[in-house]
Amino acid sequence: MTATATPTAAHRSRVSTTHRLTFLHLLRSEVIKIVSLRSTWWSLGITAAISVGMSLLVTAVARDLDGGYPAISAIVVPTQFTMLVAGILGAIVVTGEYSTGMIRSTLTAEPRRGAVLVAKSIVVAAVVAVTTVVVYAASILLTAPLVAQGIDWTTPEASTVTLAWGVAAMAAFTLIGVGFGFLIRSSAGAIAATVGVLFVLPIVFTMFAFAGESWRWIVDAAQYLPSNAAATLTSTGVDDRLPSVVALCGWVAGPLVLGWIALRSRDA
């Protein structure tokens, strides 16, 4: 009776009938899932290292620019690089379930697939958002001794608002990865799509700058790519953020809706 107890032991404490599947329970399950994987901590650790490191570097360089560079920009500018890690984390949180077969356990525990997609999206976006807040706080503290003129907290436009958009953008990049994860299912494919949209497309669009005036509209359209929209949102002194917000929301909604359609209609 050591390795395997008597059959009656199965019902020693009968599972109460009050145990029910609820969305809050589902969120809790997704939190347990994400914090119990090493890949999550690797991703978040890399994000933190890149972000804090680059902020320090940019601050050090900006010191020689005679204060022409706002201190807040040094904090949010690494987002242009950490976005890739956020997107990849979003993708592998989903594709890891497909490659290991875990998705079948997930979908038998919660057969309403839309709820699974929403719960996963909320949790992984929240994890990245919280990490970004912590990372920004660390960067601000660590760069403070280096800057001549610190962040002007009395002007929200040049402080809290900018940081908040940085956090939102990181969450958005993560969700793009989640959407591609559900749509494509394979890690390699989902990561390629995410990196393509976040990193490669802006480069491709920029190339059209040499293509003459008739291609000008493509160069103009580039500002609505997710990374460029996020760059606009986290800049200081932007008058109208709405177009960038709409663009970024569209880039999040697109893959997520396609992923949801794939999740609903395809066999798991």
């Binding site: 329970h25 090493r38 525990a109």
Partner: protein
């Protein structure tokens, strides 16, 4: 209670499950038996809503699985031992599964103890042996103390102790009035575990009957007769429908006659009998007779 009606699954022009109807009743162990590729796993995936049927439908406890509001306490599922993230520890996997229904740590610890994986519960599931993976899968299926258990090849990879445990365990659960459906391609296992057998072959139901009836219907009962005057006896019993084949000098295999008839005949003729033993067929004989034509991947007969 699981009720499948005209369940069909097509992949392109290949039909994996073809108009399958059956009922899995509570209070007994129902075995799903069939060669590889017969459609057992596909049918099970359709029962739990992972695959959408091309036609027909299936209900668990009268409801579509996708509509269950508390799936884990209704149905315990072991589809294959690999439905676990390899990077997560067994305990974390079970905790995450349990959390979806608000099932606490106490129950997680219970199923870990019950399935005997306590010593490896902190290890990454990717490092598990096949047998340990099976135990983890069974632990997950038991989390919600479900009314219905659907286990795909539960003894696959288990050591003899584990095989016996699973057998006793599912019999116990059925005795409590639960519905148990388990698949296997292992005849010996099925004959010791199942009360009722559904045989699948090439996506169709070939038989759906109590185990004993299945064996009786699909195997011929034979007699082994040994006698110093065998040829006289064989001549005497010969009748339409009775067949005798020589096994070795002085021994023959007779089908189509009861032991009583042969014994009485021998006594009336004064023929001494050294052996008169009935040989009943096994589930394996019945299975092979049933699936002879329906094997997807046929092996070449060894000459």
């Amino acid at each position: 209670m699981i009720v499948a009606e005209h369940l069909t699954k097509r992949y392109g022009d290949k039909t994996a499950v073809d108009d399958v109807s059956f009922t899995v009743a509570p209070g007994r162990v129902t075995g799903f038996l069939g060669p590889n590729g017969a459609g057992k796993s596909t049918t099970m995936r359709m029962i739990v809503g992972l695959d959408r049927p091309s036609a027909g439908h299936v209900t668990v406890g009268g409801q579509d699985y996708r509509r269950l509001r508390s799936p884990l306490t209704e149905v315990g599922v072991l589809l294959d031992a690999k439905a676990v993230h390899t990077g997560r520890s067994a305990r974390s996997h079970l905790r995450a599964m349990a959390a979806t229904h608000g099932i606490g740590r106490a129950r997680v610890d219970e199923v870990i103890e019950l399935t005997g994986i306590g010593s490896v519960a902190g290890k990454r599931a990717g490092a598990f042996s096949l047998g340990m993976g099976q135990r983890l899968g069974i632990a997950a299926a038991l989390l919600g103390d479900p009314h219905t258990l659907i286990l795909d090849e539960p003894v696959n990879g288990l050591d003899p102790e584990g095989v016996r445990w699973v057998r006793q365990f599912v019999r116990h659960l059925a005795a409590e009035g639960r519905t148990v459906l388990l698949s296997s391609h292992l005849m010996s296992e099925m004959s010791q575990t199942a009360d009722h057998v559904i045989v699948l072959g090439r996506g169709k139901v070939l038989a759906d009957a109590p185990l004993s009836e299945l064996v009786r219907t699909w195997t011929a009962t034979a007699l082994v007769v040994r006698s110093p005057r065998l040829s006289e006896l064989v001549d005497a019993v010969s009748a339409p429908g009775v067949e005798a084949t020589a096994l070795e000098p002085g021994a023959a295999r007779i089908t189509g006659a009861t032991p009583a008839a042969v014994g009485d005949l021998a006594a009336s003729l004064g023929i001494p009998l050294h052996e008169l033993s009935p040989i009943s067929g096994s589930l394996e004989d019945a299975y092979l007779a049933l699936t002879g034509e329906a094997v997807e991947y046929r092996t070449k007969e060894i000459a």
